[in-house]
């Protein structure tokens, strides 16, 4: 038996395979397909202080081995989450993180505070990188100053794990990572989607109602891998890697680059059982290469 447990700051996961926010609903959507208790962790949908309708349809465009989305954080607000959703998911035997977004720093603070007392939520993922909202969102994640500020303020009120999710739409991602680490981030996840655009040439219109949207899927993998490598080499806190992971080999590449855990996003849409396959594939790899623990390959790239 290989040891798959990984530690993300204060939280231990039974294995490094998590699912990414906005692609896995609240987990319930996948219960018919997989045994949720097998995966390491779930990051639920982007949650905001107040209920949001999200952007107008169309919100999705298929691109070469990828997709653009412009969902725009549709959700019923943190109150609804606490009172109506949390009770239905709290008994899932996996680590559940809530992805928190806001238009203002106060939004972040109040939302985080409201999640403090949920026993079965070991931490939040602070989304300072959503490209699909007009105010706030990505803007916070694209400068060291504003990124630091959000983390600093949330750190004051939120007691458990703060995982900060970075935007790839920046010149120097390691710099932002160092800034949020300095403010007390327990771990850093990346990448969120890359800002992109799709055009319907026949109709001469943008495909998305918002013109631009966030790119995810295999297309972004090389960029994500590079950024995870840069960040893992810069910071001391654990890094959670994601972006285009479709199979175990992809996941292993992120672990080798320095990620302590990985998240699977878009791939869930194509194969709702992919997280289990990735988990089994990592286990096979470790056995085949005679590693006794997944920790042996984290950051083990030979350069």
């Amino acid at each position: 038996m290989v040891d798959l447990k990984v530690k993300l700051g204060q939280v231990e996961l039974k294995n490094p395979v998590m699912t990414a926010s906005g692609t896995f609903g609240y987990g319930t959507e996948y219960q018919d397909f997989i045994d949720l208790s097998r995966i390491g962790g779930i990051v639920v949908k982007g949650t905001t202080l107040r209920s949001r309708q999200g952007n107008a349809y169309p919100r999705m465009a298929e691109t070469p081995l990828g997709m653009l989305n412009a969902v725009g954080l549709q959700n019923k607000g943190v109150d609804y989450f606490v009172n109506n959703i949390y009770p239905t998911i709290k008994d899932f035997e996996t680590a559940i993180f809530v992805n928190v977004s806001g238009s203002t720093i106060d939004d972040y603070i109040i939302t985080a505070e409201m999640l403090n007392d949920l026993d079965r939520i070991p931490g939040i993922e602070l989304n300072i990188s959503c490209p699909n909202v007009k105010e706030g969102g990505m803007a916070f994640g694209t400068s060291c100053l504003s990124a630091s500020q959000v983390v600093r303020e949330v750190r004051k009120v939120y007691k458990k794990e703060i995982m900060v999710k970075l935007s790839p739409n920046v010149t120097d991602i390691a710099e932002i990572a160092l800034a949020v680490e300095a403010e007390g981030a327990d771990s850093i996840s990346l990448i969120n989607t890359i800002l992109g655009m799709a055009i319907n040439a026949e109709k001469r219109i943008p495909v998305l109602s918002t013109i631009t949207g966030g790119l995810s899927g295999p297309a972004v993998k090389p960029v994500a891998l590079r950024m995870v490598w840069q960040v893992a080499n810069a910071v001391k806190v654990p890094v959670i890697g994601m972006g285009g992971i479709m199979n175990a080999t992809d996941a292993i590449e992120f672990l080798l680059a320095g990620a302590s855990a990985i998240q699977i996003g878009t791939a869930n849409f194509i194969d709702p059982t992919v997280s289990i396959k990735v988990l089994e594939g990592i286990e096979d790899y470790l056995k085949r290469h005679n590693f006794s623990s997944v920790n042996d390959i984290i950051g083990a790239l030979e350069v």
Binding site: G22, T23, F24, G25, E29, Y30, F33, K45, Q53, G54, A56, Y57, P58, R59, M60, E62, T63, P64, L65, G66, M67, N69, V71, Q74, G217, P218, T266, N268, F269, I270, D271, P272, T273
Partner: protein
Amino acid sequence: MLDLIVKENKQLNNQYFLLILGSPDELPEMYPGQFVEVRVDNSPETFLRRPISINFVDYKRNELWLLIQIIGEGTRKLSTCKQGDLLNLLLPLGNSYTIPTNEDSKLLLVGGGVGIAPLLYLGSKLKEKGIICDFLLGGRSKYNLLQLEEFSNFGNVFTTTEDGTYGEKGFVTNHSILTNKKYDLIYSCGPTPMMKAVAAYAKSKNTECEVSLENTMACGFGACLCCVTDSVDGHVCVCTEGPVFNTSKLKW
């Protein structure tokens, strides 16, 4: 998620084909209006699955029928399926058309183009309930009217073509049957302008109307929130709260 075997790929004409998929195991129960998400393999242009309505299910032979129009790369690739190929599907997805409990219900099923696909299965289920419905099927030309023989097994078939090459000339909403008969419920599936016209007609007659929407989807099972339509309850997912909607719920 399951793999079905292509038992037959019938090219109906150069735009439409019918996939008859088989399974060694018993097929799960499926309701009319539901759909499947097909993975398109060996197609670099087709990253996401493609949603396709359930056209017909033959539980005795364990057969699932998909009626497909070639639109882009995904459907073109599917049109090249050969007997014996495996297709990976998520199924059944979505809600379904309402089946009335009253056997005397007067029902009209209005389909346009490939939008007729779910209506065949709906008609067959209605007949099982003892209801013989009217089908009103429209297309640009004769060429776009499909499965007329199959439809006639389950109800009365009326047709229109825009160019008059078959049935009455004009749009479905111009068909004489609409002035002559009164229905309890109208079901529709097809291009949005057609469904909107049908909905307007139904409203003018104070008749309930259910339509099936075809928003673009990334997942098909409620996880991505990409497929929303605007409803009286705000943005709702077409893949889980639909694809079938009572038009009173839509902001049409």
